[in-house]
C-alpha cells in the first residue's frame, strides 16, 4: 500500500462491518479494503476519504476496546479536514444516526467545525477552512473567547 498516509488512526469496534457501513452512510467514506478473520471479525480494513484512510478493526481483544466497553470513554479522536460542504455533511451524519456534539460553528482560527460520536462512541470532528486568520489574530480572538481551560 504505497499510497498509505504516513500517520493514520486505527479504531476498534465491536461490530466493525456495521462501523464501516456507518462511515459510508454518515460521512461519505469509501470502504476500499476489508480483510476478515475466520470468525467473521475484521483484522484489517481501510475506510477512505480524499485519499486518506482510517482503519476499522474488531471485535477488540487484549488491551483494545470499543468505547461501548468503556462507558463512552475514548483514548483517541479523529479530525477530518474537508475542502467544502461541512454543513451538508453534518446533516448527512445526523440523519445517519451520528450524535452531534458541537454544531457547525466558525472557530477563532478560521475553520468551521462540528463534532460527533458514531454509534459505538468513537469521537470525530470535521473542519473546513472558511477564513484565513493570521496567527496574531488567532491568538487575539481565542484569548478574547477563552473560558475555563478544558
Amino acid at each position: 500500500m504505497p499510497d498509505a498516509p504516513p500517520i493514520s488512526p486505527l479504531l476498534f469496534y465491536r461490530d466493525p462491518k456495521a462501523a464501516l457501513d456507518f462511515l459510508e452512510r454518515a460521512f461519505g467514506f469509501e470502504t476500499r479494503l476489508v480483510v476478515e478473520t475466520e470468525a467473521g471479525g475484521v483484522m484489517h480494513s481501510e475506510s477512505a476519504f480524499e485519499g486518506h484512510v482510517v482503519m476499522v478493526v474488531g471485535p477488540p481483544s487484549h488491551s483494545a476496546a470499543s468505547p461501548l466497553d468503556l462507558g463512552g470513554r475514548v483514548t483517541g479522536h479523529v479530525h477530518v479536514q474537508l475542502r467544502e460542504g461541512i454543513d451538508a455533511l453534518c446533516e448527512r451524519a445526523r440523519a445517519a444516526g451520528a450524535r452531534i456534539g458541537r454544531e457547525p460553528e466558525d472557530q477563532p482560527y478560521g475553520d468551521r467545525v462540528f463534532t460527533c460520536l458514531d454509534p459505538e462512541g468513537q469521537s470525530w470532528s470535521f473542519g473546513q477552512k472558511v477564513e484565513a486568520v493570521p496567527p496574531a489574530e488567532q491568538a487575539r480572538r481565542s484569548g478574547a473567547a477563552r473560558g475555563s481551560a478544558p
Binding site: 500517520i7 493514520s8 479504531l11 479494503l33 480483510v35 476478515e36 481501510e46 485519499g51 479523529v78 481551560a149
Partner: protein, 161 residues
C-alpha cells in the same frame, strides 16, 4: 496543509508525552498552544510528513455528550485507538531508538505476510503505536495463501501500487 485525517491522542501529562515522543520516535512539535495556567490547549506533532494531535484528558458534556477523552493510563491500559506510522526506511533502527528511550516493545520488528515489516510499541501512558515499512510486493492471492484470511474487499490491483 494538514492531511485529511488527523488522529488525536490524549495524555495525563501531554507535555511530558511530547518530550518523550520527540526522544523516542523522533517526532517534532509543530504547534503548541497553552493557556495561562500552562495546560496544553492544542498541540500538534509531525513525523515523516504526517500529523498527530496531542491533548490532555478532558470531557465536556456540551461538546462531547457522554464521551470523555482519556489516557490509557486512566483506563487500566486499555485503548480505543492505535496510531499507525508509516516509515520510508529504517524501521529496525527506529525500534532500537524507541526501546532505548523506554518504549515497551510489544511486537519486535518482523516481516508480515502482506509485505510490510512492522513493530509495535507502547508509550509511557499506554498508547499503542504501530510502525511499518514496505519491504516486499505481495499479491492478494499470495496474502490469502500465506494467512488463511479472506480478502472480502481486496485492495485495488497493482495499477496504482
Amino acid at each position: 496543509m494538514t492531511s485529511a485525517f488527523t488522529p488525536s491522542v490524549f495524555y495525563r501529562d501531554p507535555l511530558a508525552a511530547m518530550r518523550w515522543l520527540e526522544a523516542a520516535f523522533g517526532f517534532e512539535t509543530s504547534l503548541l498552544v497553552t493557556d495561562q495556567a500552562g495546560h496544553v490547549g492544542h498541540a500538534q506533532m509531525t513525523y515523516a510528513g504526517g500529523v498527530v494531535d496531542i491533548g490532555g484528558e478532558w470531557s465536556s458534556p456540551e461538546l462531547l455528550g457522554p464521551a470523555s477523552l482519556k489516557s490509557p493510563a486512566s483506563l487500566g491500559g486499555v485503548g480505543t485507538q492505535f496510531v499507525r506510522v508509516r516509515l520510508a526506511s529504517g524501521l529496525d533502527a527506529h525500534c532500537e531508538r524507541a526501546r532505548a528511550a523506554g518504549a515497551r516493545i510489544t511486537q519486535e520488528p518482523q516481516d508480515q505476510f502482506y509485505g510490510d515489516r512492522t513493530y509495535r510499541a507502547l508509550d509511557p501512558e499506554g498508547h499503542v503505536w504501530n510502525f511499518s515499512e514496505a519491504v516486499a510486493e505481495v499479491s492478494v492471492a499470495q496474502m490469502e495463501r500465506a494467512s488463511g484470511l479472506k480478502f472480502a474487499i481486496p485492495p485495488k490491483e497493482p495499477s496504482d501500487a
